[in-house]
């Protein structure tokens, strides 16, 4: 057992037992961050804050939500929206945050792709991040089921149908997932469980892994510079704050994080109070009706690009393309054969690859929502082929890249 002395203060008492000073150093004041980073590096903190908003608003909603197919719709739209004080506020915060969190995730992802933050020792940051993307997708989908509106029901029907695997006709698997032949009580109950327990647990665990994965390779920077963190931190601690290439996480970087978070929150609350319709599909304000298929069925905007990779092809090829799209981002650190960890602007052909990928995914997103009539069907098909093509050529164009 360790040797304990009579504490001189509460801090000392805690310090002897929990080493809070050391923890504070490791987590904050001597957690070193490069100085040459821009506001895109604050997206992690923006995501943490958004996740916190989702968690807190979700806890309040959970107190009144009823996971029962006869009660769910009115428990949300009547009880929470009309009867509960500020229930409408929690619901709008939850709905808007669920949509905006994906916008920030995509910005965060494309930042990493642009600056090569998945390379040379940072592979696990990328992989844990993509696992978080998968977990957030599951969280969003399961949450979308809960109001039990028309879109909940029919999106649940369509997405669970994907598991039949086309010509494989794995209908037994679909029934096993639904717990019934169609989405019904068993389906709602298990998606409720997934949404409020299992998936959030996975997300919290993965956030821990994602943060942990950052510690050894350190945060990347916007110039592709290799920084000697030990050397630079010594310089900082010796008092040469201006000359050092690194800064403390807290309060140095934290103060910038908080500025970005504050600006983000202005935007976020503007959406919550004055422009929330984009995040709360009107069709889902009709109660679920298994006998009436909505005129247009489409997923929320953040799933549209992968939905559009599925849609232009025949069932089996579509499913293969869809499966490809779901996993391929995970392999990015291994498909990029270039030795350079520098911004895309200095990486030859990769520069064009980056912008082509971004624009192609926006095109897929747009085509995923509109009805599959011409010319949208053709645009969608080409965008899907370009998406696959870009991944196929990635190893070759990055192999050609010269060492910077």
């Amino acid at each position: 057992m360790a040797h304990f002395t009579k504490a001189t203060s509460i801090k000392d008492w805690l310090n002897q037992r929990l080493a809070i000073e050391k923890v504070e150093k490791v987590m904050a004041s001597e957690y070193w961050i490069p100085k040459n980073i821009n506001f895109l590096w604050a997206m992690g903190m923006v995501l943490v804050i958004t996740f916190a908003l989702l968690l807190v608003s979700g806890i309040f909603l959970l107190m009144y939500y009823q996971p029962n197919i006869d009660l769910a719709f009115d428990s949300v739209n009547y009880t929470i929206m009309r009867e509960v004080d500020f229930g409408w506020l929690w619901r709008h915060v939850h709905g808007v945050a669920a949509s905006v969190v994906f916008l920030i995730i995509y910005i965060h992802m494309f930042t990493a792709i642009y600056y090569g933050s998945y390379k040379k020792g940072r592979e696990m940051i990328w992989i844990s991040g993509m696992l978080l993307f998968v977990a957030f997708s599951a969280e969003a989908f399961s949450g979308y089921m809960l109001p039990w509106g028309q879109m909940s029901y029919w999106a649940g029907m369509v997405i669970t149908n994907l598991f039949s695997g086309g010509s494989l006709h794995a209908d037994g698997l679909v029934e096993w997932i639904r717990g019934d032949y169609v989405p019904a009580q068993a389906f709602l109950n298990r998606f409720f469980m997934l949404h409020v327990l299992l998936v959030p647990l996975a997300i919290i665990g993965l956030i821990g892994l994602h943060f942990g994965a950052l510690r050894i390779p350190h945060v990347n920077n916007q110039d592709g510079e290799e920084i000697d963190f030990d050397e630079e931190s010594k310089k900082y601690l010796a008092g040469d704050k201006a000359g050092s290439k690194v800064i403390r996480f807290a309060n140095d970087f934290m103060s910038k994080d908080m500025l970005v978070v504050a600006i983000y929150l202005v935007f976020f609350f503007y959406l919550v109070f004055f422009h929330y319709d984009f995040a709360m599909d009107p069709v889902n304000f009709d109660p679920a009706d298994g006998l009436k298929t909505p005129e247009h069925i489409y997923p929320e905007w953040y799933f549209l690009w992968s939905y559009e990779i599925l849609r232009p092809f025949s069932t089996d090829i579509g499913l293969i393309a869809f499966a490809f799209a779901q996993v391929i981002f995970m392999a990015l650190p291994f498909l990029d054969r270039s030795p350079n960890t520098i911004p895309a602007s200095r990486r030859g052909l990769f520069k064009y690859w980056f912008w082509a990928m971004l624009i192609d995914m926006i095109a897929l997103t747009a085509m995923g929502k509109v009805p599959p009539v011409e010319p949208f069907g053709t645009i969608g098909l080409y965008a899907a082929l370009i998406f696959i093509g870009l991944w196929v050529v990635l190893p070759f164009i990055t192999k050609l890249e010269k060492k910077a």
Partner: protein, 315 residues
């Protein structure tokens, strides 16, 4: 080094807005037909040319085998000859109470409706000669004099007994215009009236049975049960509902939903009532919204000052 942050921000905002435009305004313009409101003008129907006489109108409305044979006018102490459930099973629809119609419906619309209901309501496709069906409201062919004058008199009387615009509540407008076919359970409204709080379960069950009987007859007449409108303001939106009431056929050709024939003010009131039901906290949302925005902007100012203070030594 040059500060690239404004450029980066511009790129992020640009791609975000492009994506937003494509998946929201653009996609919706491709998915749904858009119709502009015609201002509730009913220009396909003829204008009233004669000046109506209230006293003469009253005689026509109250006369033997006239309007009050089916319609109640409760504001004048005239009850309906049969209750709603019996009426709907006899006619398919329950004839509306005429107390408020002069304030709710447009004059041109009434002018045609009295003479040719199916035409004014745009449901002639349901009552073709081949179908053998006729609209449950018999057309008024005149009482022996100048029919234009007589109809003008009837409308003048209906307007004279109707509440003044500031006395017509959103709820009254809704009940007269929509409430005989559409329930709205978030406001406890059923097709036969507001559901009271019952002390005895038996009385409640009797009420519910009456509603169900009424709905069965209505289903037969309309083809399906008209939807509950509790949160239609969220599922359809204000613009759609307004233009749909103005002319349902332009959205759903062949629908049995009639043109409602509201005047512009009454249409606003119906929308107001739909908002009271489906978007009940909108005023609270606006006022709290502004307070939160002010709070967050102050937070952002303090965050900026803190960042500047911390980074003073770092540059």
């Amino acid at each position: 080094m040059k500060n690239k942050e404004p450029l980066i921000l511009a790129v992020v905002v640009f791609f975000t807005l492009v994506t937003y435009y494509l998946v929201e305004p653009f996609a919706h313009s491709q998915m749904h037909e858009h119709f502009e409101s015609k201002g509730f003008a009913y220009s396909d129907l003829p204008e009233i040319t004669k000046k109506g006489d209230v006293t003469r109108g009253k005689e026509l409305v109250m006369g033997a085998a006239a309007c009050t044979g089916c319609h109640s006018i409760t504001s004048q102490g005239l009850e309906a000859p049969m209750d709603a459930v019996t009426a709907v099973s006899a006619y398919g629809v329950n004839a509306p109470d005429l107390s408020d119609v002069g304030a709710v419906f447009d004059e041109r619309f009434l002018n045609t409706h009295i003479r040719n209901p199916a035409h004014a309501l745009k449901v002639e496709h349901k009552f073709t000669p081949e179908s053998g069906k006729i609209h449950p409201m018999p057309a008024f062919y005149g009482a022996g004099g100048d029919i234009d004058q007589e109809v003008a008199d009837i409308i003048a009387y209906l307007r004279s007994i109707a509440p003044k615009p500031d006395k017509l509540t959103p709820k009254m407008a809704f009940e007269t215009a929509c409430g005989r076919c559409h329930a709205m359970h978030y406001e406890k409204w059923t097709q036969i009236g507001t559901k009271p709080a019952f002390k005895r379960k038996q009385d409640e069950l009797e009420f519910d049975t009456n509603v169900l009987d009424y709905q069965d007859s209505l289903k037969k007449y309309m083809g399906k049960l008209p939807p509950d409108l509790s949160i239609y303001i969220r599922s359809r939106g204000e613009h759609y509902i307004k233009t749909f009431m103005e002319d349902p056929q332009q959205y759903l050709e062949g629908t049995s939903m009639p043109r409602v024939g509201l005047n512009a003010e009454a249409a606003e009131k119906v929308i107001e009532y739909l908002k009271d039901s489906g978007d009940a906290k909108r005023h609270e949302r606006d006022s709290i919204g502004w307070n939160v925005m002010i709070y967050i902007i102050f937070f952002a100012i303090f965050a900026l000052l803190w960042k500047k203070q911390v980074w003073r030594d770092l540059h």
